[in-house]
């Protein structure tokens, strides 16, 4: 009786470890489903939308300007942020207000990216905490799967004026 229970427990533990490891490999190297919260990416991604993120671009260093990425928050490594890549290393970024008279620029340092939310009025992003190291990027969001009436690939940035001309 005891041997039967013990055997079953071992098998259960074995399966849990096995599927846990397969899940880790899938999330780490292929991609996964995420839920986004917050208003900073409206109208492209609304609060409580469910999206699909792929992690291959990050490993092959194929993240480009205009991609929406999910990254670890620079000030809290346990939480994630979801923003659009405005500039890659070496790009010139306008850091002053576009309506201001004196325009100030800065260059994105090597190994970093400049992230901004699509909802510029309501987004804490690189304009607040500066350029984000590339190593914090976890994946690229490319498909929205919920709500169904908005299913599909994600739109381009509504703020094309933020991208540098170079």
């Amino acid at each position: 009786m005891l041997r039967g229970v013990l055997g079953k427990t071992f098998r259960l533990v074995g399966y849990t470890i096995q599927y846990g490891c397969i899940a880790h490999c899938a999330f780490e190297y292929v991609g996964g489903v995420l839920m986004c919260s917050g208003p900073s990416m409206e109208p492209t991604i609304q609060n409580s939308d469910i999206v699909f993120a792929e992690n291959l671009s990050r490993h092959f260093y194929g993240i480009q300007r205009g991609d929406i990425v999910v990254a670890k928050s620079p000030s809290d490594p346990k939480s994630n942020i979801c923003k659009r890549v405005i500039g890659l290393e070496g790009d010139k970024i306008l850091t002053s207000s576009p309506a201001g008279f004196f325009k100030s620029h800065s260059y994105v340092p090597k190994g970093h990216v400049w992230l901004e939310g699509d909802n510029l009025q309501n987004s804490t992003d690189s304009r607040y905490y500066g350029p984000v190291p590339y190593g914090l990027i976890r994946g690229r969001i490319f498909l929205k799967i919920w709500p169904l009436n908005d299913f599909g690939f994600l739109r381009d940035s509504p703020n094309s004026h933020r991208f540098s001309d170079e």
Partner: protein
């Protein structure tokens, strides 16, 4: 004829089963629990690589200890380089968030480490590309905690978490 085909199929099935169990488990172990790495460079002398390029130390990197991003001052850690994401660098943690550091070669004399960041330095000052060059690093870049030197055998030891005496802090968060 049927018997030999059955044998091949059974062997193939066993192989696939083993493969799909062994590879994910091994990969998960190396990513989440521990792995080993060879240290290159002179930035952590004399703690690591005292012999220069003749013999590189091999260290045990413990991912499990940093799974909640908990590090102590004095730990030797590996992290993704903020300047080059393809590279990992190995340095000592000098200060945690909230501490004020007296820098050596940074553009500001004193730096307060922001929330969610740490200040790292190599033990070999002047020959180290560390926070004195690129400032505080985000904890999200933390990769592992180097706990032991595994090779060469005469350098087998546990790496101690001590702050170099000349790098005592100006002010630490717990002083408040």
């Amino acid at each position: 004829m049927a018997q030999s085909q059955g044998w091949v199929r059974r062997y193939f099935k066993a192989f696939c089963k083993g493969f799909f169990v062994a590879v994910p488990v091994a990969v998960t172990f190396l990513d989440r629990v521990a792995c080993v790495a060879r240290v290159e460079g002179a930035s952590m002398q004399p703690s690591l690589n005292p012999g220069g390029s003749q013999s590189s130390d091999v260290v045990l990197l413990n991912h499990w200890k940093v799974r909640n991003f908990e590090v102590q001052r004095g730990d030797i850690v590996s992290l993704v380089s903020p300047k080059n994401p393809e590279q990992k660098i190995i340095k000592r943690v000098i200060a945690l968030e909230g501490d004020i550091v007296k820098t050596m070669g940074h553009k500001n004399r004193y730096v307060k480490v922001p929330r969610g960041h740490i200040w790292v330095e190599g033990d070999h000052h002047g020959h180290s590309f560390d926070s004195n060059s690129f400032g505080p690093v985000s904890l999200g870049l933390l990769h592992a905690h180097a706990t032991h030197i595994l090779w060469p055998p005469e350098r087998w030891q546990k790496l101690e978490s001590v702050l170099p005496p000349e790098r005592l802090l100006v002010q630490s968060e717990e002083d408040y």
